[in-house]
């Protein structure tokens, strides 16, 4: 069981999406979370001045599945078809630390006590990092909803925030009703439909081309970034080297022994810095790319819905023509056509707004993260340099 409490650097942590939670009328955060075996229990804490809520401040426990339920209901709400729906947070993934724990258990006999303790420490740090990441990503999801003028009023959102009982019953009902059918359909058809539709509007034509291409590129960049940050495990090697040097030192005569021990110390310190370098890069760069891969997908979904509406509108036109030809059900067909046009126009209008603000948001988030990452890398590299130079001085004078 691991838990985190009020984290003072949460401001820095909340990095991937920006400009959230500056509206005091509805403030949401996840101050606490418990990890039991596979399940993570988040404590969702809300402070609000809105009268639609029963209390001004309250907390509820929620599981990852509850977040997914909320996301799905929003996706399947017709009225929100013209909005970019914030991407659902990914499932908490403790596979990495768990694998490491396994390896640690297996290798216990072949390591010294110090090495084992060090690796255990590292493992705990990694676990904590994964934990923090998943809390952050769930928090950002809620904050995107709360800062959106339409979503924050959503009934299900309010239930999610307020309902002090287990949501699992509601979740089951929802699943039965929608069966996830709509979502699956969207996933498979969007590419074809979006690219197939003839676009009259210049803005959407551009957006379509951009999003289709960008989503491929960002997916690839995310994968490569993940691979890169995963392979940044030089810290492990420094740990082993440090241990081995200490062993060698034990047997030598005094002058050289001190030399070797100092060396071991250098590697130990370097390890910590390398660790920070790798994890900061992961947090700022890889997480950023991961998040925006999902967000780009959400934008594409919006385009899909609009394209679908356009297709519906074109179909309704054809139906109207046919009805006029036959002279039957003309009024109905006219009504249908009018509605389709309305829907399409609404989607286009709100879609334009959403996509524009999406771009602005994306640019700001990239800027913030790239700057923060660069500053951290510089800081760590400078630390390394001063550490190494200090040690070289000592070793040379020895």
């Amino acid at each position: 069981m691991t838990s985190i409490s009020e984290d003072s650097d949460k401001e820095k942590m909340r990095s991937v999406s920006v400009d959230l939670n500056n509206d005091a009328s509805l403030v949401i955060d996840i101050p606490d979370a418990l990890c039991e075996r596979d399940k993570v229990k988040f404590t969702v804490h809300t402070k609000t001045t809105l009268s639609s809520f029963q209390k001004p401040e309250f907390s509820v426990p929620r599981q990852h599945e509850d977040f997914i339920w909320l996301h799905d209901t929003i996706v399947e709400t017709e009225e929100y078809a013209g909005f970019i729906i914030p991407p659902a947070p990914p499932k908490p993934d403790f596979e990495g630390p768990r694998e490491k724990m396994h390896k640690l258990g297996e290798g216990e006999s072949s390591m010294t006590k110090e090495e084992y303790a060090k690796m255990k420490q590292e493992l705990e740090a990694e676990y904590l990092a994964v934990f923090k990441k998943t809390v952050q990503v769930h928090e950002v999801f809620l904050q995107r909803l709360s800062s959106h003028p339409m979503f924050r009023k959503d009934r299900n959102f309010q239930i999610f925030l307020e309902y002090d009982q287990d949501l699992s019953v509601r979740r089951k009902n929802a699943k039965e009703m929608f069966g996830g059918f709509f979502k699956n359909m969207v996933k498979s058809a969007d590419e074809v439909l979006i690219s197939g539709v003839k676009e009259v509007d210049e803005f959407f034509e551009q957006e379509k081309n951009f999003l289709l291409d960008y989503s491929i590129k960002i997916k690839d960049a995310t994968a490569k970034a993940e691979k890169m940050t995963r392979s940044h495990k030089i810290a492990d090697d420094y740990n082993h080297i440090s241990g081995a040097l200490n062993n060698t030192a034990a047997d030598n005569n005094t002058a050289f022994k001190k030399h070797l021990e100092k060396c071991a110390e250098v590697f130990e310190k370097l390890r910590k810095v390398e660790d920070r370098m790798a994890s900061d890069q992961e947090l700022k760069l890889t997480e950023l790319l991961r998040y925006y891969t999902r967000d780009i997908q959400a934008a594409k979904d919006l385009l899909y819905r609009r394209a679908r509406a356009l297709a519906d509108y074109e179909n309704s036109n054809k139906a109207l023509d046919k009805a006029r030809l036959k002279g039957k059900d003309v009024a109905q067909a006219e009504e249908n056509q009018k509605q389709c046009l309305q829907k399409f126009d609404k989607l286009s209008e709100s879609g334009k707004k959403e996509l524009t603000s999406f771009k602005a948001r994306r640019v700001v988030a990239f800027r913030k993260n790239l700057i923060e990452m660069t500053e951290l890398e510089i800081k760590h590299a400078k630390n390394s340099v001063s550490l190494l130079q200090g040690s070289i001085e000592i070793l040379k004078s020895n």
């Binding site: 690839d220 490569k224 090697d237 060698t248 002058a255 250098v266 771009k359 590299a381 190494l388």
Partner: protein
Amino acid sequence: MSEEREPPPLPGAAQTVFPEPQDAEDLFVSAASAMESPEAACLSAEDISPSSNGPRDDDPDDLFAEATEEVSLDSPERQPILSDGPSPAITPVTPVMISPRVDVFDRSPDQDEDEEENRDTFDIQISVSDPEKVGDGMNAYMVYKVTTKTSLSIFSRDEVCVKRRFSDFLGLYSKLASKYMHMGYIVPPAPEKSIVGMTKVKVGKEDLSSVEFVEKRRSALERYLLRTVKHPALLKDPDVLQFLESSELPRAVSTQALSGAGILRMVNKAADAVNKMTIKMNESDAWFEEKQQQFENLDVQLRKLHASVESLVCHRKELSVNTASFAKSAAMLGNSEDHTALSRALSQLAEVEEKIDQLHQDQSYADFYLISELLGDYVRLITAVKGVFDQRMKAWAKWQDAQVMLQRKREAEAKLQYANKPDKLQQATDEIREWEGKVQQGERDFEQISKNIRREVGRFEKDRVKDFRVVIIKYLESLVHTQQQLIKYWEAFLPEAKAIA
């Protein structure tokens, strides 16, 4: 910086670091004359046949008139087959030595150790370079240029360039080992063969791995030669001089794994291993026991350290590859991005990451050549050190065996005295004298090898500490350089990131 365990000061006035045969005076007398023309000796290196295994054949009779022991060194049967075994169990060679070059070595061994730091007489630079492929297909081989620059007088010129192939190096090691190892000298081992590596080169694959292999081998050969000439005795050895100077070197066929010599070597190694197990030595000298234990420990520790460093090299290479691939992907992303400032920033990011990937790669080479290879060399050197301790054990065993034999002969003589067989008695008395001589020789040899080992180990320890100290600092400096470059790259990128509007 002196070692706490200095070998005890060497007794006597022996002004040479070399072991002497029992005819010390004779050796010096004739040596002095032979020494007038060190150059001549060198230049006649070409005439030395490959079968010359021991000391210089130019003055065989003068020096070794009293040389005892089994085999005459000039015998033509002592063809490559026998001369290349590292420790020929069958025919141990008398500890004979080339004449000491008094011009360089007129200081006592003690002084030698202290002056090792300011060895301005040790002025020799060797480089191995320009690997060239000769021939085609499976018969192809690499030829390396060996350049020696020196002011030492034992060399005929200031600067010599010769072409050598890998088996030449192995041949050199073979000869040196068989000459000096049984005297307790630590002979630096030659780089290891690699069938896989060489096959790739032979087949003509010009890819990165075979280029790296050749570079690794070139560097290893260079280190091998430098270590060899750093040893005061080996530097003077005619085989070494011939190797460095003569333009033509007879091919060392016996170094091939499956040659007759190769098989004999394997047999000898097995015999040695058995002997090691059966010889139970009464160690009267605690120093040796302690040192042996120390080297056992060091062996284990160095291997572990080596493994860790190899893992580091591997991971850094992996990181470099992944960073490069990310850089490409980021560039594509930058191209796709329609916001101009962000697009430019992403392209810059891609460039930075590309530079960083090169940095990682360079650092991994430093990891490898500075530390990993050095550790590998020392692991092999320690095996040589352990071998030398084994040689001492063998010398002890030989001495003991001689004593046992002497005892038997004495008993036999006593018996004969009772039996009153005068002719046989004479023979028995002769034999006793012979074996008395052998016992004396055995004891002397044992003491000599013990003395040599003490000195060698002292020198080895000093060198080891010095090597490691130097390398550690060099390596840390390389890490500093990498980090400073990182700072430079990221600091250049920062304004680009800030410029995103």
